[in-house]
């Protein structure tokens, strides 16, 4: 552009304002691009599927009071029978842990029991023959457990089951060539006997979503005689709210020597999911609102400083107008000036943003900033700068040439 040289010369006379605008744009870019990146990372984390059909699902965490390991299986079976008979219940199952829940059991999985390092960690789910249908998890190969394969076991005496179902992700890790069905795997650190894979499910998350083995899980056909198993209940469509009241009431009626914890005792799966990702969603919201306010303030700051400049230079604008500059020339002058300042700011901001990102990577073990976010934020800031300059620049273009003759 033809006006760059005079702009630079003018900026030299307004060092303070120049530095302030550049600094503000640079800092805003550094923060906004990192914030956007963190937001996106958290949103991506929140939108990962558990593999279950999460609608119409109720979770009841049940704690038996003073029941011994010998009688718990009987009590559990009676509970399950009652739950499955409740009108509005599609199916129900007992399980030691569930995706996005706050409990988990993890074991190392090996193909050779004598090798110390495991191939993968995997979450253990102790399930029965109703679990897959209740969860809405799809088998991609093999078969489900049969009722006669489900054994009640004392958690203190737990032995690896002879037949297991594993997730596809785990199957691919163990048998990369893709024929895990019917093959043996060893569960746990010094497992004496192998377990045969009789089925493979498409996807089922481990309870904790923030682990490296999030999609690796192994399902064992056992009814754990723990005093803190959980019931998963699938209601018929539209009946979840009713079931959420009826199911606990029916269980208390059957046997009152039990405790449902006040906060996590009875939850629909929507609530389980919301709680599991609460801090992710919250952080994304906080960062998002900070970004918006930040952009508004930066924009307002540019409006303020540019207005000030226009006020200071009325005489010079008048002279230019008197010498033949059109309104468009004046408008272009201020817009170009802002463009220049923004570009310098964005350049510095890019460096700052990358430094900040590196620091976050080291300090908080976060992912490295992708350039897409730098680019997006830069474009947004550039447009913001131009938009903020527009009004003061219009005012400048309306300075009459006669201003040149005043007050000399």
């Amino acid at each position: 552009m033809l006006q760059i040289k005079p702009i630079l010369r003018a900026l030299k006379r307004h060092k303070a304002g120049t530095v302030l605008i550049v600094l503000q744009i640079a800092l805003t870019l550094a923060i906004v691009c990192n914030a956007l990146f963190i937001i996106n990372e958290r949103v991506a984390r929140m939108s990962r599927p558990t593999g279950m059909d999460e609608s119409n699902l109720l979770v009841i965490q049940n704690h038996w009071v003073g029941a011994s390991a010998q009688i718990i299986p009987t009590l559990t079976k009676a509970d399950l029978l009652t739950l499955r008979r409740l009108p509005g219940v599609e199916d129900a199952t007992q399980i030691n842990a569930y995706p996005l829940g706050n409990k988990s059991t993890t074991e190392g999985i090996r193909l050779d029991p004598n090798v110390k390092p495991y191939i993968s960690l995997a979450a253990e789910y102790f399930v029965d023959d109703h679990t897959l249908t209740t969860m809405g998890v799809q088998l991609v190969a093999g078969r489900n457990f049969r009722a006669d394969e489900i054994h009640a076991i004392d958690p203190q005496m737990e032995r690896p089951a002879s037949e297991v179902i594993i997730t596809e992700a785990l199957a691919d890790k163990l048998y990369p060539s893709g024929n895990a069905l019917g093959k043996p795997i060893y569960i746990g650190n010094d497992s004496p006997s192998p377990s045969t894979v009789i089925g493979i499910v498409g996807r089922l998350q481990a309870p904790s979503p923030n682990t490296s083995f999030v999609d690796c899980a192994v399902l064992l056909p056992s009814l754990l005689a723990n005093d803190d198993g959980s019931y998963l209940i699938r209601s018929k469509p539209g009946q979840l709210a009713t079931i959420a009241k009826d199911a606990p009431a029916a269980l208390i009626k059957l046997d009152r020597m039990r405790v449902f914890l006040p906060e996590h005792g009875i939850q629909t799966f929507d609530v389980v999911r919301a709680e599991a990702y609460k801090s992710d969603r919250g952080l994304a919201m906080v960062l998002g609102s900070i970004c918006v306010v930040l952009l508004i303030i930066t924009g307002a700051g540019i409006v303020g400083l540019t207005s000030f400049w226009v006020g200071q230079r009325r005489k010079q604008i008048g002279v230019r107008r008197a010498l033949g500059a059109t309104r468009g020339d004046i408008l272009a002058y201020f817009l170009t000036e802002n463009l220049l300042l923004s570009l310098i700011g964005l350049l510095i901001g890019t460096v700052l943003g990358i430094c900040l990102s590196e620091w976050l990577v080291i300090r908080f073990e976060m992912q490295r900033l992708s350039f897409l976010y730098l680019l997006t934020s830069s474009v947004v800031l550039l447009l913001l700068g131009q938009a903020a300059t527009l009004n003061p620049a219009f005012k400048a273009s309306r300075v009459p040439p006669v201003e040149a003759t005043r007050s000399v």
Binding site: G17, Q24, I38, S279, S407
Partner: protein, 434 residues
């Protein structure tokens, strides 16, 4: 003169309401965001027991062998090691504790059983952790050794079960076993829950029940906390106790430097002895961290808290850069006025004073807005943090004071440059051109 400058400042702020409110809002937002996130950080990095924290240590002994975890031993202790350390009795006080999932059965049979945070522990705990008592006291070491069926309960539980009456000597039924209450704690709720960060993540409901560790093991009450096993231990309760599974929080009180180094040497010697006897096939690998080092190592402060504070401080910085620019614009617009004042005999110092006071007022207004918005921010903390953490962050006098101070100070600092520029105005030049 101060009052006069205040009045001048007020006039000037009113002259340009849009610019002024922009500055006030920017400072208000920046300060509020920083203070809200600071309040959370302050709560989560709190020292739960300041008078004792430097004397409380948690030993770690590597009983699993070298792994890829930076060579750090496991966080918890196995039953074998905990019992060996208890018997050796090398610290001034020591305790082993683990969380238990027992249900309380109310004496009134019409009420349903319920659960409270409960721990199995040793007699030393009460003196070690400075636990205050409303009624009675903790149990004795003799009762530990006798595996006595005694319990210490919290005030809230005492209110719930006994309507606040002195319940010492009465019984409480946990699951199917009865315990004699020997003490009622008076609102003991250290946050972070330093004694078991592994289970609670550092923050949780106050512990309402303590029973003797020895009794809990007799009754085979399992831990509801972490239980990490290097080797499978599926041979029943006694096999589990004898295994290298780790599940016990172990704490010692070491009052001075000499006792710390002596205990460190003892731990090293213990691990070396285990190596000699063939139980450990690796050289001694131990740690002895004090309480604050332990909380730091376990990263009790959630990363969200640090990230949001960091972003908020960046936000405040930008708001201040913005304020510098706007103040500059505002002050320089008044160059003719400054020229007149200077010509009439005002010194540069007077100009400095006048404009810094004016900026201070902007800061104060921003600070007041900031306090109000920090209040709103506190209500929204629950969006990001668990309720256990959110309820710890509170607005108190010191936070309000800090908010106002930060707002005024930072605005005055931001005003230095614009004020300097204002003071540089040449009176003659200004008078001539107007």
């Amino acid at each position: 003169m101060f009052a006069y400058y205040l009045r001048l400042g007020l006039c000037s702020l009113r002259r340009n309401p849009l610019l002024t409110s922009l500055m006030v809002v920017a400072i208000g937002f920046g300060v509020a965001a920083s203070m809200t996130t600071y309040a959370v950080l302050r709560a989560t990095s709190n020292n739960p027991i300041p008078q004792k924290s430097s004397q409380l240590f948690t030993p770690q002994i590597d009983n699993a062998g070298p792994s890829d975890d930076n060579g750090e031993p496991l966080d918890l202790m196995s039953y074998i090691d905990a019992m060996a350390l208890m018997q050796a009795h090398r610290a001034k006080r020591q305790t082993a504790l683990y969380p238990i999932g027992v249900s309380i059965i109310p004496p009134d049979a019409s009420r349903l059983p319920f659960r409270e945070t409960s721990y199995a522990t040793y007699a030393g705990t009460f003196a070690m952790f400075d636990i205050p008592f409303l009624y009675g006291a903790g149990w004795s070491t003799q009762e530990d050794q006798a595996h006595a069926a005694v319990a210490v309960i919290g005030r809230a539980l005492n209110d719930k079960l006994f309507q606040g009456a002195n319940s010492v000597g009465r019984d409480i039924v946990l699951d199917s076993h009865s315990y004699r209450i020997v003490g009622v704690m008076n609102n003991w709720n250290p946050q972070p829950m330093f004694y078991d960060v592994k289970t609670s993540g550092g923050f949780g409901d106050p512990t309402q029940v303590f029973i003797p560790f020895t009794r809990a093991v007799d009754l085979q009450i399992p831990t509801i906390g972490a239980d990490l096993c290097a080797t499978s231990s599926n041979g029943g309760w006694n096999t589990w106790l004898r295994s290298d599974c780790v599940w016990i929080n172990y704490w010692v009180e070491l009052p001075d430097r000499a006792s710390v180094s002596a205990y460190h040497d003892y731990l090293y010697g213990y691990a070396a002895e285990q190596q000699r006897s063939g139980r450990f096939q690796w050289p001694p690998n131990i740690r002895l961290r004090n309480m604050m080092q332990w909380l730091d190592y376990k990263q009790v402060v959630p990363p969200e808290s640090k990230i949001s504070l960091l972003v908020s401080l960046g936000f405040l910085l930008i708001c201040l850069v913005n304020t510098v620019g706007l103040l500059l614009a505002k002050f320089m617009r008044r160059a003719p006025e400054i020229g007149v004042r200077r010509a009439l005999g005002a010194s540069r110092n007077a100009i400095y004073k006048q404009f810094l006071i004016e900026a201070g007022m902007v800061g104060l207004a921003g600070g007041l807005l900031g306090v109000a918005m920090t209040g709103v921010g506190m209500l929204e903390i629950g969006l990001v943090f668990e309720p256990q953490i959110a309820r710890l962050a509170t607005v108190d006098k010191s936070l309000v004071g800090l908010t106002l101070c930060v707002a005024v100070l930072s605005t005055v600092v931001a005003a230095f440059y614009p004020t300097w520029r204002a003071a540089q105005v040449q009176p003659a030049w200004q008078l001539k051109s107007s």
